[in-house]
Amino acid sequence: METFIFLIFAALAVVSSLVVVMHRSPVYATMSLVVTLFSVAVLFVLLGAPFLGALQILIYAGAIVVLFLFVIMLLNLQKEGEAAGRWRGQLWVAIPGALIFIGMVGLVFWRQGAPDLQPLTPDLVSLKGLATALFTDYLLPFEIVGLLLLVAVIGATVAARRAPDAADGSGPLPREDFVAEETARKEARP
């Protein structure tokens, strides 16, 4: 039964992630990403880490990809055309890149042999084990990641925000002015 579920969701994860990179419509690609994330979450549960599975769906499928979809719909992205999608030069970068990657992975296996993978212990994947590890052994990296995210958020806000007193007057009007202007416009209408 478990093998059967694993096979279904592993295949689903592979197929849907291929659709993510190959489909020409951004909305279909995004929805396939949701299927991929969901399938991987099921694999997490099968590995005995239901907490990671639930968080995977909650954070990635439930929040981040929704924002992807929000941006795609807001910009009303259309299907990618042949001309824009097939940049010939891409091929000449992609093939060496793939070769280097395969070579590096091969080198690791050749130098060290097949890695001796330990099964995840229930203690390690339990919520308590994870929290203890994060807040004791890895406290500094954890805090640094938090700081990095904060910097990214502030940076994005600064980059997206137009100065309200821009010289060209392109900044957003204060609310009262806007209302007054709207009223004036409505009254001026015959």
Partner: protein, 338 residues
Amino acid sequence: MNPALVATLLKYAVMFGVFINVAPIMNWVERRACAYIQDRPGPNRVGPLGLFQPLADAAKFMFKEDVTPAAADKLLYLMAPVLALLPAFTTFVIIPFGPDLTVGGRTIPLVVAPVDTGVLLFLALSSLAVYSLVLAGYASNNKFSLLGGIRASAQLISYELALTLSVLAVLLPVNSFRLADIVAYQQTHVWNFIPQILGFFVFLVASFAETNRLPFDLPEAESELIAGFHTEYSAMRFAAFFQAEYTNMAALAALGVTLFFGGWSLPGVHLGGWLGAIVGLVTLIAKLCVCMAVFVWVRWTFPRFRYDQLMRLGWKVLLPLSILNLILVAAMTLAGWL
């Protein structure tokens, strides 16, 4: 057949029976209640007090023509209502509806899926509900639908944060994600809404936004967007959205009842066996009815928020309040008051 599997299927059947009936019953309640609030009779022709109106509506939905717009994205257009129903009919599996039941020497916890991740699973599954709204809006290829879909995605993301944080605060003193443990905690302590009144308030407001009910029904907003994301839908596909909305409401109400109002338990009542199970289920349903009545009452009493007001409330009021609540509850737990 595996007895554990049979027990799970039976429990799912019970909960499914409760939740599938929410939409038709609420259809009648909502229309009669709104009529009462607006001082008019409401639907009173079909059957006594108009009670058979949901049947008439269901028959009408089945025989209406099912229209697919010519310019719609066919696959996504067909998928959206199904995606709306899926989270609606899976989230209630983690709601406990009675004390442990012993049948033939085997202890059965009265919750469909007694999983450790409990509340997180609920939040994860319910967070997927937004896709049906967004896809319906996109696939209809209609500007009103698209605007509804965009609003839905931004609104649900914004309010999910406050909702999740207010739920997390409830878990702190209990030390568990299991809703059964939260109910057990409330049996020995006072119901959670008293010490966590702030968290309950945030949860209440955020759950109106999460279920797209007035005063936060911006994705539909009839007066601006016709019917928002489901403008193009007709017949049974529209009914599927309708069903999903009410089932989601009931599931979220069940979560709220379990987190803040003792779930299936009543203070001072400790019954076991089949009697306890039946009393538990009836208590849960009774509390659900009260919640649904509040949903209806609020919907027909408050005007709709403007979009900027909605965003300001979500990010500048509810989110800070929920963080404050989390800190307060954490401090009280540390001090040993909870």
